[in-house]
Amino acid sequence: MSGATVPLYRLAHGRTGDKGNRSNISVIAWHAALWPVLVEQVTESRVAAQFCHRRPTRVTRHLLPRLQAMNFVLDDVLDGGVNDALNLDSHGKALAFVLLDLPVDVPPDLRQYLVGPDDDPTSQDPPRRTAP
């Protein structure tokens, strides 16, 4: 079996929170074996690129190895936040699913830990309607 490029949501799950104009998104490994892959590939720079249309002024990654989880803090991505944004989703609740679309390369020996089907009809491959 060979390696594969899959969306992050097959390795991890997450939830968005907001405070003011700052969004936080957790990324939680489905299995401890997948944690090193997340640490290596789900980096601050890749997450910043994934959200480039929101123009974050800073992206910070906090690692929680005991929980096999990481917490991303994205500054100034909510158009002012819940009271100021014109967005229907002024909290940015949907943003976790933007992060969870991030492509991740999974080595062959770890494919057994992936969640969801290999022929995932919901994956964005080829990407469409993604950030410019």
């Binding site: 799950h13 939830r15 929170g17 249309h53 123009r55 929980l67 009271n83 469409r128």
Partner: protein, 460 residues
Amino acid sequence: MTTSPVAAAPLRVGCAAGFSGDRTDAAGPVVDALVAAGGPAFLIFETLAERTLALAQLARRQDPDAGFEPLLDDLLRPVLGRCLAHRIRIVGNFGAANPRGAARRIAALARALDLPAPRIAIVEGDDLGAETRRHVLRAALGGGSDVDAVLRTMVSANAYIGAEPIADALLAGADIVVTGRVADPSLTVGPALAHFGWARDDWDRLARATMAGHLLECGAQVSGGYYADPGFKDIPDLAHVGYPIAEIDADGDCTITKPAGTGGRIDAHTVKEQLLYELHDPAAYVTPDVVADIGEARVVELAPDRVRLEGVRGHARPAALKVNVFREQGWLAEGEISYAGARAESRARLAGALLAERLRPLGKLRIDLIGAGSVLGDDDGRWLAAQPHGEARDVRLRVALIHADRAQAERLPREVTALYTCGPAGGGGVRTGLRQRLSTLSCFVPRDDVPTRFTFLEPT
């Protein structure tokens, strides 16, 4: 560090609401479970999101007896009698902008239900909007003419206060504690502090109780709510999701569970998602009571729907308290119209372009094409502009703007309605809205400038 008295039985804290307007049938199963378990127990209601308090203050302007949680009666009626009968004490921030009014309402509810009169404590001190407290706010905002402008349009200014006045009220014998703005986890820390008699600088224990409170404070968000994603994250019987109960031990560590027979699920993954919800630096979750540190925390699945959180550490509480100031600033106008069938996306895009041209003098107009691209976009439209023109066949155009002047803002709903006769073919289902916008700013005040207290509601 400090030695604290040890109690054998865990303290159970059940959560029956996680926001203003939460389900009124959530409390029943939680109270059933607390009664069945026996032992010391509390029921908490968290009903204050950031802007809820400003809305409550506006309601109180209209009616001096209003300004607390509108669903207060509906939340408490199903469980008040059983809580009083079984010594399950209630702590809620459902007092919002009028804790005293809420306390009176609860007393009236108890009378109407022929219950023994509960001892109701009112926690005050968070409200910095009153004339007598303006000097504190003025100093925090830095003085100057800008501050005068803020104060003129201010709706509410509340400090996030901590668990101490709640604990003091409980130690004085309160059956029910009504608060306004307290930090959400403090609703849980207060009962734990009172029950276990911890020192008030026992940072590790306060931090553990704080994270227990953090797991509880959004209600079902730890027990399967706001989690399901079919095929990837399946949750049983989500329609009847059970609200959480924390079993807190004398060291503050907790086990999260939920009432038997309810829907939802509690496992390591649901707990981790809520643990990190609205956190920034996991080593420094700042509350009025303590700075909690989950950098070395672990979650352990003990049994189905039973997950233990341990390893939380604490650091000294901050010297300053956060204050949220809300003011009325401008008008938010919104409008929607649907296009469906062949070329629906083209017709919706044409309508959006037409509105942008008609409303250009009003400033920034947000355009969403619901069904083709909407909430992921930014207010400046960069994301939407970069999306290829698709062939979506069911698109709801939504536009929004903010304007300082109400009369100008009203042009948006009129223009959206005019699409019926002046826009592209086949548009239908116009809905429009206009409401005053509440803008917010935060500042910090020295803790010593925010004295808090509790008083008992006088029997009538």
